[in-house]
């Protein structure tokens, strides 16, 4: 990874969920601990783990959508964990997220074009009278039609909604894209389309991506480096080839065994 600098940095991230009860805090649950890794500029980094292993929690902490209990998140030299609300809002323009469940990722009561336009308006990226054209461009770019901008989320298929999710994430022209299981809810052929779209976009826009998934085949297909998560702790990380060919950890080996055949796409 010569010459590439670090864009996103996670250091000793820890998240403890506590169930609040009537009297003080109840039992605590450690969702993530000791998570340390770097995402280099321009690469796709994979975060692999079984359901409930804490993948989403880590991802959200990187974007500070979930407040870490302790630890440090860096983004291009900014201390994300310590930014003021206002500073954080400004930084969000550069980091975006595509959600796992496209069904709830859009407000059911607003036209999707309006929702794709929101980041543009919010970050004041272009003159007001150009927002509409930019939205239309973006929709067409991800494979949707201009006239679909005025439709509501329920009028789209899962695959189309995921395209919308990508369009919205790109609306603020970010450098970093967090993909939280972007295809796990889609059937195989649509998965391949979405992945190809993401790869194409990454090349065009020089995106840095963090791909969260439970599917090792996806990591092999998409990622340069990856980390394996087990019960909230990183058990292995490094170049994807090493993880696949020289797994150091029992968990990784189990995950590899679970992948019956390499990804077709």
């Amino acid at each position: 990874m010569s010459g590439r600098d670090v864009l996103v940095q996670a250091q000793d991230l820890r998240k403890v969920y506590a169930k609040p009860t009537l009297f003080g805090t109840g039992e605590e649950f450690v969702a993530v601990q000791g998570a340390t890794f770097d995402v280099l500029r321009g690469e796709t980094f994979g975060l692999i783990g079984e359901s409930g292993s804490g993948k989403t929690t880590i991802g959200r902490m990187l974007l500070r959508l979930v407040e870490p209990t302790s630890g440090f998140v860096g983004f291009d030299g900014h201390d994300v964990t310590r930014l003021t609300p206002k500073g954080m809002r400004r930084l969000r323009q550069r980091m975006q997220i595509v959600f796992q469940d496209s069904g709830s990722a859009f407000n059911p009561r607003r036209a999707v074009g309006e929702q794709v336009a929101f980041p543009m308006r919010q970050f004041d990226l272009c003159p007001k009278n150009e927002v509409r054209d930019r939205v239309v461009d973006l929709l067409e770019h991800v494979g949707l039609r201009a006239d679909q901008a005025d439709r509501y989320p329920h009028e789209f298929s899962g695959g189309q909604r995921q395209r919308l999710g990508i369009a919205r994430a790109l609306a603020s022209e970010p450098e970093f894209l967090l993909l939280d299981e972007p295809t796990s809810a889609l059937d195989v052929s649509v998965q391949a389309q979405i992945l190809n779209l993401l790869q194409q976009l990454q090349e065009e826009r020089h995106l840095t991506m963090l791909l969260i998934t439970h599917n090792l085949a996806l990591v092999q297909h998409m990622c340069d480096r990856a980390a394996v998560l087990h019960h909230g702790e990183l058990v292995e990380s490094g170049p994807v080839d090493d993880i696949f060919h020289k797994p150091q950890n029992e968990v990784t080996r189990r995950l590899l065994d679970a992948v019956l055949e390499p990804v077709a796409a």
Binding site: L65, R90, Q100, A105, R109, F123, L144, R145, Y152
Partner: protein, 308 residues
Amino acid sequence: MTSTTLGQKVVSPVAAGDTVAAQIKSRSRPALMWRALRRDKAAVVSIGILVFLTLVAVFAPLLAPYDPLDGDASQRLEGIGTPGHLLGLDGQGRDILSRLIYGGRYSLTVAVLPVLAAAPIALLIGMFAGYFGGRTGNAVMRVLDVLFAFPVVLLAIAIAAVLGPGLANVMLAIGITMVPYMARVVYTATVQESAKEYVEAARAAGATQAQILRQQLMPNVMSPLVVYGTSLCGLMIVLAAGLSFLGVGVTPPAPDWGVMTSDGRSVLLEGYGHVATIPGLVILVAALAFNLIGDGIRDALDPHKQTS
């Protein structure tokens, strides 16, 4: 399914600008909502009924055949179809139709105003408690739970007793009593919606708390509030009558549908059913109409129904 998502890119119109402009016009939100509401026959009929009742109440002095307060004791309790008195006369020989016509002035006001006044307050409390949650949110809802424990009528009486009698105070009392109930509905909806990813998406796009509350959550918690609020309207008429019966509401002999019904109760067992039944039916119809309008508004606000 899968091939269309790709195929659509190919057929995307070249003159996108024109199409989009046309689309915006033909799909404007209020127009779609109005269309959805109009399609809902029950809601349309209900609106008709309430508009009719309201107009009748407004023009009561022109429409009422008799003075609603003056009775003719010689004709007391005569039944439906008595010459000159279409709906008969009550226990004090007053024309029931005239009292109904005037009664709408009180009853419709009492049905709508407290709910309308309580709704924004409940919306505010419920959304704040539901969205910010934590200790403050919990504390707020616990306080409301305590208010729940009081019987509604008792609470309303207490408030009305403090404020003094009079229609305005009664409405204020009823409105305050309804706040916890409506806030609870908003709270539940807000907690539910806040957990959804579109709220997180807005935050990720730099939305402020105020923007999330107003643009994302409010449209989604309005529907349950509207449905619940309109379902309370009918109850308000009855509640106001209960208060009046206890001496803190509309003061007799002023006509009020609820009061008329409870007046009629005393002669019900003597076989003069019409005195209580007629205003009771009017309350029933009005309450039903409010409910159906609530359902109609909910559907009209629902994008699923707008575009089908």
